[in-house]
């Protein structure tokens, strides 16, 4: 039992946090309005070397796992979740290929994305209508967090399906995360560039995708908590800071408890992924928990700021919208509890502890 990150991960987290504080937070409205991250931001991102987090070492990446990913995503999303998505060239499309098709295919996939900045997109069949023929695929996804892509990976049942052409993006307003873009994506009998089938790998890919978005959600909620808690110490009403009225003090305590507990489930599930342990139910459960608490954390952050919270002058309305929007992905809450609960009554999960070694 060890909750320590370790020096290497501490450094990664610290790097991501600094970037988020200095580059993402100050530009969050600008990125939202322009539906993109700036050129400068992209180059500073590439410089710090976090873009290749999960790229296999053989292909020149850091080869890190799910724990590193969830830690980095939380930090970036605490700045701007939309920008976090925009900055990651591969997203869970890469980890899907990695898990379903293996290291070599993943390395090839990364090498094939030669344009700068590259953008690969994962679509889970839970989030779109997918019709599959032997060498063709049709997709209608009402909302994806991108305005363009060099490649699309569809996670469909036990399969990962790669598309390089034949899809179109039609811009939509987007409920949130607009810094990454927001589009309806359609493909009509698009040619399949490659497809792999691997039930176990597909299940792990799904876990990693859910943890990817779960950690973004944790970051958004953390930002909402921190911003509203700080505001509550400055804003005065009835002769004292509003945070010193117990009604708000307790609410702020509740919000912090909710986010901390959800984060621990995300970390535990990510640890299972990296340790090669069964992770489908823990990841679904962690994802469900993040969505569950986001329903109150986001709106409560706005509530603490009152009328100001409703205005776009403060970021909490954005946090509220984006927390809600993130929770709609990967099949949302219902799919998550469906999967987390599927074998609950017959298996030892979730309450058995994992025993390790003998010392």
């Amino acid at each position: 039992m060890n909750f320590e990150l370790g020096d290497d991960l501490e450094l990664v987290v610290e790097t991501a946090r600094k970037l988020a504080e200095s580059e993402l937070t100050p530009r969050l409205r600008e990125s939202e309005a322009t539906r993109a991250v700036s050129e400068e931001l992209l180059s500073s991102w590439e410089e710090i070397g976090l873009a290749d987090l999960e790229v296999p070492e053989a292909a020149g990446g850091a080869g890190l796992g799910a724990v590193a990913r969830v830690l980095v995503n939380e930090e970036l999303a605490a700045g701007d979740a939309g920008a976090a998505l925009a900055l990651d060239p591969y997203g869970p499309a890469l980890t899907t290929i990695l898990e379903v098709a293996g290291q070599e295919a993943a390395s090839k996939f990364v090498a094939s994305l030669s344009t700068r900045p590259a953008r690969a997109l994962l679509i889970m069949s839970e989030d779109a209508q997918v019709d599959l023929a032997s060498d063709r695929i049709s997709i209608d996804a009402p909302w994806v967090t991108a305005d363009r892509a060099d490649a699309i990976v569809v996670l469909h049942g036990d399969e990962a399906i790669l598309l390089r052409e034949g899809f179109t993006f039609e811009h939509v307003r987007g409920a949130g995360l607009r810094a990454a873009g927001a589009s309806r994506l359609t493909a009509s009998s698009a040619p399949i560039a490659a497809r792999w089938s691997n039930p176990e790998g597909a299940s792990r890919a799904k876990s990693r995708a859910r943890l990817y978005y779960a950690s973004l959600l944790i970051g958004v909620m953390r930002a909402a908590c921190e911003f509203s808690a700080a505001y509550s110490q400055e804003r005065e009403a009835f002769g004292k800071p509003i945070g010193h009225h117990q009604a708000l003090a307790f609410l702020i305590a509740e919000m912090r408890i909710a986010v901390d507990a959800a984060r621990l489930l995300v970390h535990e599930a990510a640890w299972r992924v990296d340790a090669g342990l069964p992770s489908a139910a823990p990841a679904s459960s962690a994802w469900a928990e993040c969505i569950d608490v986001s329903r109150t954390v986001g709106p409560n952050a706005v509530q603490i700021l009152g009328g100001h919270g409703f205005m776009a002058d403060y970021p909490v309305e954005k946090f509220m919208r984006e927390a809600r929007a993130l929770g709609l992905l990967c099949g949302g809450f219902d799919a998550a509890i469906e999967e987390a609960g599927r074998d609950l009554v017959d298996s030892a999960f979730p309450l058995s502890l994992t025993t390790h070694g003998a010392n």
């Binding site: 039992m1 507990a261 489930l265 535990e268 309450l351 994992t354 025993t355 003998a358």
Partner: protein
């Protein structure tokens, strides 16, 4: 990051499971049925002594070797406590031993006091108890408001007042009683005094009737001109200095609240297992609504466990964990209560009949949000850190 446990820990949990299933569960059910704590002469307590339980952690004035007692991690304690509470939370409190005041005596007591009050617990000849008397009818969470007073009388002290909800008080060899010597000073004006059972003026013992956790006694008593000597005051000589040190440690890391959280988790796990058994028995597991509820309970129990383990792990590292400890306690108690409530709904009128263990757990678990700092006190402590909530 590493969330597994080692084989030794697994073995300790299994031992706790055996003890819990064989001893704690039947004893707890018996007490609940009889609506009274297990009597002092109950064979359960004799078996505790035979197994070597009910002893003090104090090594004695001249410990045979420096490394006599193995230091055990807080995380380990949490996992064992979780398992024991799974079988019966009340019995944990009913166990013989020096109990709550033990740590205060070890930290602040003089050698003479340790010898006199903890000595009999080194290798007890029979089940023995001790208790700590803090709570009063008019002073619970606000301990600074207690009115039991100690007045100087020559070399000694005269104690007057009333205490309530004191665990095992009527069966205790001695009671460590918190009293004020200067009400104007609040907590700083309070001292603790050893009062031996049978001392003149100590009486009026009344074992309270409770909603749940019936297996241990929560007792009220009165102090009517109880005279104790100067040697009965905890600490005496170097007391203030030592106490300051103790307080500092307490303010840095706390292991008590994560233990309450772990016990809450154990009770909630018990609820969950019973709910799943019930659902299987009545062929409800195919129903989405039932499954969704069970999923919700299990998810919340897992997060409560992680919160408790994190707070305990921080204590093991001797790192500040005040906010984490309070969060785990507040969350664990709340989740255990919610879980029991959901599970009772699953049972419907079968739960309403009042003889299913989930119904007992529903009554037992409410106490977890009250003892060791109520949920409201925990939220105040958290808010002090987060937004500087004034005292």
């Amino acid at each position: 990051m590493e969330f597994s446990i080692d084989a030794d820990m697994q073995r300790r949990i299994e031992e706790a499971r055996e003890l819990g299933e064989k001893e704690f569960r039947p004893a707890g059910l018996e007490a609940d049925r009889n609506a009274a704590p297990l009597p002092v002469g109950h064979p359960f307590f004799d078996r505790c002594i035979e197994r070597g339980e009910g002893r003090t952690r104090w090594a004695g004035l001249n410990p045979p070797s420096a490394s006599s007692a193995p230091t055990r991690s807080v995380v380990g304690t949490l996992l064992v406590m979780e398992e024991l509470a799974y079988w019966d939370r009340g019995i944990i409190n009913a166990m013989p031993g020096p109990g709550l005041p033990e740590q205060s005596v070890i930290s602040m007591g003089t050698d003479e006091q340790k010898e006199k009050y903890l000595g009999p617990f080194l290798k007890p000849d029979r089940p023995r108890w001790a208790c700590f008397g803090m709570t009063e009818p008019g002073a619970g969470s606000d301990a600074a408001a207690l009115t039991t007073n100690a007045k100087k009388d020559g070399d000694g002290w005269i104690l007057n007042g009333a205490k309530c909800f004191i665990g095992s008080a009527s069966r205790s060899d001695w009671l460590l009683v918190q009293a004020t010597v200067d009400p104007a000073k609040g907590r700083a004006g309070q001292r603790a005094f050893f009062v031996e059972q049978g001392t003149e003026g100590l009486g009026g013992f009344k074992i309270e009737k409770k909603m749940g956790l019936k297996s241990y006694e929560s007792t009220s008593f009165t102090l009517d001109n109880v005279r104790v000597s100067a040697a009965h005051q905890l600490g005496a000589g170097g007391r203030t200095e030592k106490k300051a040190g103790f307080k500092t440690a307490m303010q840095t890391f706390n292991a008590g609240r994560p233990v309450m959280a772990a016990q809450s988790v154990g009770m909630a796990r018990s609820v969950l297992d019973e709910a799943i058994s019930f659902a299987k028995l009545h062929d409800l597991t195919k129903k989405d609504r039932v499954r969704d509820r069970i999923e919700g309970i299990s998810r919340r129990v897992r997060k409560a466990r992680m919160m408790s383990l994190r707070a305990g792990w921080l204590a093991d590292q001797q790192r500040a964990n005040i906010i984490e400890a309070s969060m785990s306690k507040a969350l664990g108690a709340q989740i255990a209560q919610e879980s029991a409530s959901f599970a009772l709904e699953l049972l419907g009128t079968i739960g309403g009949a009042g003889n299913h263990i989930i119904e007992k757990l529903y009554r037992d678990v409410k106490a977890m949000d009250i003892v060791e700092g109520t949920g409201q006190i925990q939220r105040m402590l958290i808010a002090r850190s987060l937004v500087g909530l004034p005292r």
